[in-house]
Symmetry: C2
Subunit: 206 residues, 2 copies
């Protein structure tokens, strides 16, 4: 019996069912209504249904009944189990306490910058800066709209805002360095570096 696999959607399902029993589609709508769709991906319903099936197999949730509000499609209501509740708490503690690397695309691309020319990179990063600014405005607009909502329910937005702000300042920093020429490269220079590192015995080790 291996421990059930952790995932954002699985966590969302368990925590919503801790509040009250409900059916999958309802979870999707609740997540959207509460604005949690910024941090939980529910654009594709299939993932949600698949995850729910898995959690049922693993005994963390249980189908309570198959109901039918008049004139609405049939739907299966799920409830959390004791194990499910315990696992949800355990997952929360682990996620909060221990950071894990999730390998997003942007830093990966950063590490392959030499594939493009410096001015090409400059153009792309300028576009990114613009996009992040728009994104930040959207977040601020959302926070303004939700002025009446207790802060507890807006913390993830606060967090996203902080991270986006940092990314923006890092990007504009690099853009400046590219524009001024403080950061640059060329085919010739790259070949030279490659030759250098080929001769040296790759100093960094452990």
């Amino acid at each position: 019996m291996k421990p059930p696999k952790r995932s954002p959607i699985a966590l969302a399902v368990l925590t919503m069912l801790c509040e009250a029993p409900m059916h999958p589609y309802r979870m999707q709508r609740l997540i959207k209504e509460r604005g949690k769709d910024e941090v939980i991906n529910v654009t594709q319903r299939a993932s949600l249904y698949q995850t729910i099936q898995r959690l049922e197999r693993e005994g963390l949730i249980a189908a309570q009944r198959t109901a039918r509000d008049e004139k609405r499609p049939e739907h299966t209501v799920y409830a959390i189990t004791e194990t499910g509740r315990a696992i949800a708490v355990e997952w929360m503690r682990q996620i909060l306490s221990t950071p894990t690397n999730e390998y997003p695309e942007f830093p990966a691309a950063i590490s392959f910058l030499p594939l493009l020319s410096p001015d090409d990179v400059l153009r792309q990063l300028e576009a990114r800066a613009k996009a992040i600014k728009a994104e930040l405005e959207r977040i601020d607009e959302g926070l303004k709209q939700a002025a009446a909502v207790p802060r507890l329910f807006l913390l993830e937005m606060e967090y996203l805002r902080a991270v986006q702000t940092t990314e923006l300042s890092w990007v504009t920093f690099v853009v400046d360095d590219l524009r001024s020429g403080r950061l640059t490269w060329s085919e010739a220079w790259l070949r030279q570096i490659a030759a250098q590192f080929a001769s040296e015995p790759a100093s960094s080790s452990e």
Copy 2:
């Protein structure tokens, strides 16, 4: 003919093959040697081999030959194709220019904080702060070791450092608010809020 799917590993494979033809295992070691394993997940080799097979199917790379250095296992050397090179450049431009939400675990967990008690959250976040500090020291140590390496090849570390620093300050900020009681909640208070929102018609819409 749908366009090939973008992924950090696929991008890594293409860019390495842009430099020179090589075999999968060599890519894995190169990524580690250059410290890119911080942003490209190569701990599990199987993903790398599977991605390479897919890229070959899609015609972005091609098996050049199956070679055998004496006393070493047989290995297949791959080379990039014209399409592959074009796709790599296209991916780079898209990733750099347009931010995409990748739904990491931490913000997801943040949005379900009420599942734990305030002092439980406090303990977990204190642990996280400590872990991030250690992580930052590790990064700084790495950057110090690599003082001779041109900045171009350390940019992703710079970025990670900036993001981690922001996360640390946000976490310590929240820890302070929890400790002082500026941020708190209780079962009773949560029930009250739930009742309030059940009566109101979910004001946030557009």
